[in-house]
């Protein structure tokens, strides 16, 4: 404990430094790739042609980092007071709300199924094949069907996010509920503990590290689900719709789609980090809590 506390601030500073260095490295690599295989640079009379004549990193398919940054800083449309970044951040918050509701519903559904399965092998044998089968249906095939059922609405988007969340939670949670040492189960038996008590005092606490592993995966998956769902769901307020729009105008303004991708990534990292912080808080007293 004391050693861990002493090490932590230093390793945190190191982690931040590594992250910043990596980000800078990414930008430099990006621009080097463009330098080698990008469009010619023109500055007034002066022109610089890249060394190879295969233009694989044109301004069309890989805009300059500063062009993307510029697009984010510019007004999101003519005469608008908000920059594109602020505009997309607002859309991101909308998408995040959809994703978060789907995430929460998926987590509850996944945990519920796992608790049911761990207590009833009949239920497990009966339902697991369908749960697995449900995950082999591509979401692009399923999304229009969901829209048919509940109408083009935010609800459809939430259901799609739920659908992408519950499965990893079910599988990981089931594994976690079964993780206690057999002797711990015998100990509970020797205390004449009821099944409910075994669940609350042993199985659920033991399953939490497994649950959080799944929740970290599904935090990002739920955002993907919400973004995909916004198209067929006809929801215009989120990032998904912006991505569709920027796809259509990609020829004239590719940096805007890249900007949207950048904001989407920030949203994913943000949601993941939020779940991670909750995990650190909930599992703070456990020896493995500091592990990723």
């Amino acid at each position: 404990m004391t050693t861990a506390e002493r090490v932590r601030p230093r390793s945190r500073r190191l982690r931040v430094a590594v992250f910043v260095l990596f980000l800078m490295g990414l930008f430099v690599t990006w621009e080097v790739v463009k330098f080698v295989g990008g469009d010619p640079w023109r500055l007034g009379e002066w022109e610089w042609r890249p060394p190879v004549d295969i233009w694989f990193a044109t301004d069309q398919n890989l805009p300059h980092v500063w062009d993307i940054a510029g697009a984010l800083a510019d007004p999101w449309r003519r005469n608008a007071s908000d920059s594109l970044f602020v505009h997309l951040a607002g859309k991101a918050m909308y998408t995040w709300r959809e994703a978060a509701i789907g995430f929460a519903l998926g987590a509850v559904l996944g945990m519920g199924l796992a608790v049911a399965f761990v207590h009833s092998s009949i239920m497990e044998r009966a339902f697991v094949p369908y749960v697995v089968a449900s995950q082999t249906i591509p979401i692009v095939a399923l999304a229009p069907m969901i829209v048919f059922f509940v109408g083009a609405s935010v609800q459809a988007v939430v259901i799609i996010a739920t659908y992408l969340t519950f499965f990893p939670v079910t599988i990981a949670m089931l594994r976690g509920l079964r993780s206690p040492d057999p002797r711990a189960m015998e100990l509970m038996r020797s205390y004449a503990a009821s099944r409910r008590m075994v669940l609350w005092k042993l199985r659920l606490p033991a399953s939490l590290p497994y649950l959080f592993t799944a929740l970290k995966i599904t935090a990002t998956a739920s955002i993907v689900g919400a973004i995909i769902g916004e198209g067929p769901g006809g929801v215009h307020e989120g990032l998904g719709w912006s991505i569709i729009e920027f796809n259509q105008t990609y020829i004239t303004a590719p940096e805007r789609l890249w900007a949207a991708i950048f904001v989407t990534s920030l949203l994913g990292i943000g949601f993941y980090t939020l779940v991670r912080l909750v995990e650190l808080r909930v599992l703070r007293s456990r020896p493995e809590a500091s592990a990723g």
Partner: protein, 283 residues
């Protein structure tokens, strides 16, 4: 009947009674092995009984039968005049395994409180009871620590405190110190004896260490494998309280030899492949 504080007694009211107990395990390939056969044993209130024997003699199975963690194929197990199942549901047992099996997400104190929560004890009473138990195993200063912060011996002491928390009638210990080093084990032996003398609890103790069995017990039950059965019961008439002097007592050495010979005899008579190791421990 003598009170619980006056130490060992044989006969009288039996806390645990096994009559013609046998246990046969069905294996996956359809065959079966006889783990125990024809076990008759009576354990009196406040006794400290050790079960000793080579691997595969069924000593752990016997302990688990008493604790209702498994059921006998033949015969009956009676605990305080009830069936073993009734005794378990009545929370008559405290269990200590070879591993401490502490819940890593609970503090030491909360681990000790676990059985009290399950028995529905009031919060305030739980706390005072847990404090009492931690004082008994000398771990008051570590109440708020987490199990991973303690040494193996300390963790096992927490497990003992937890087992004793709701004042069970019988303490069942399955090789509790088997994973500890020799010095820690000797310290733990003295600790267990002190707790036994303070609480007057009936202890059934599985071990494969002859010195440990002799030092602790009022009776040592020697078992042999294939099929698991009792070959000899050695009364340990060493004076109490026992301490460091006990291990240098001439009678102690005689009894160690007696148990060792009983084990060797049982081993030779039952199988040729079982082998006794030199230092009084059987692998």
């Amino acid at each position: 009947m003598s009170g619980p504080m006056t130490g060992p007694m044989t006969g009288g009211t039996a806390v645990v009674r096994l009559d013609g107990v046998g246990k046969t395990f069905q294996l996956a390939d359809g065959s079966s092995t006889v783990a125990l056969s024809g076990i008759d044993l009576s354990i009196g209130r406040g006794e400290f009984v050790s079960l000793i024997g080579p691997s595969g003699c069924g000593k752990s199975t016997l302990l688990r039968l008493i604790g209702d963690l498994t059921h006998p194929s033949t015969g009956s197990v009676t605990v305080n005049g009830k069936s073993a199942t009734q005794a378990r549901l009545g929370r008559d047992y405290g269990m200590v395994f070879q591993a401490p099996v502490l819940f890593e997400w609970r503090t030491v104190e909360d681990n000790v409180k676990l059985p009290l929560e399950l028995s529905g004890m009031e919060r305030a009473e739980r706390s005072s009871r847990a404090d009492e138990m931690l004082a008994l195993v000398d771990l008051v200063d570590f109440a708020r620590h987490h199990p991973y912060q303690l040494s193996g011996g300390m963790q096992q002491r927490v497990a003992i405190a937890r087992a004793l928390a709701f004042a069970p009638d019988i303490l069942l210990m399955d090789e509790p110190f088997g994973a500890l080093d020799e010095m820690t084990r000797e310290r733990m032996n003295s600790e267990v004896l002190r707790i036994w003398e303070q609480t007057g609890i009936t202890v059934v103790f599985v071990t494969h260490s002859i010195p440990e069995a002799v030092f602790l017990s009022s009776r040592v039950v020697v078992m042999s494998p294939r099929p698991g059965r009792i070959t000899r019961v050695v009364d340990i008439d060493l004076p109490r309280p026992r301490g460091f002097d006990t291990r240098e007592n001439r009678r102690y050495f005689e009894l160690v030899t007696e148990v060792r010979e009983a084990l060797r005899g049982s081993d030779l008579s039952s199988a040729s492949d079982g082998r006794l190791e030199a230092e009084g421990t059987i692998g």
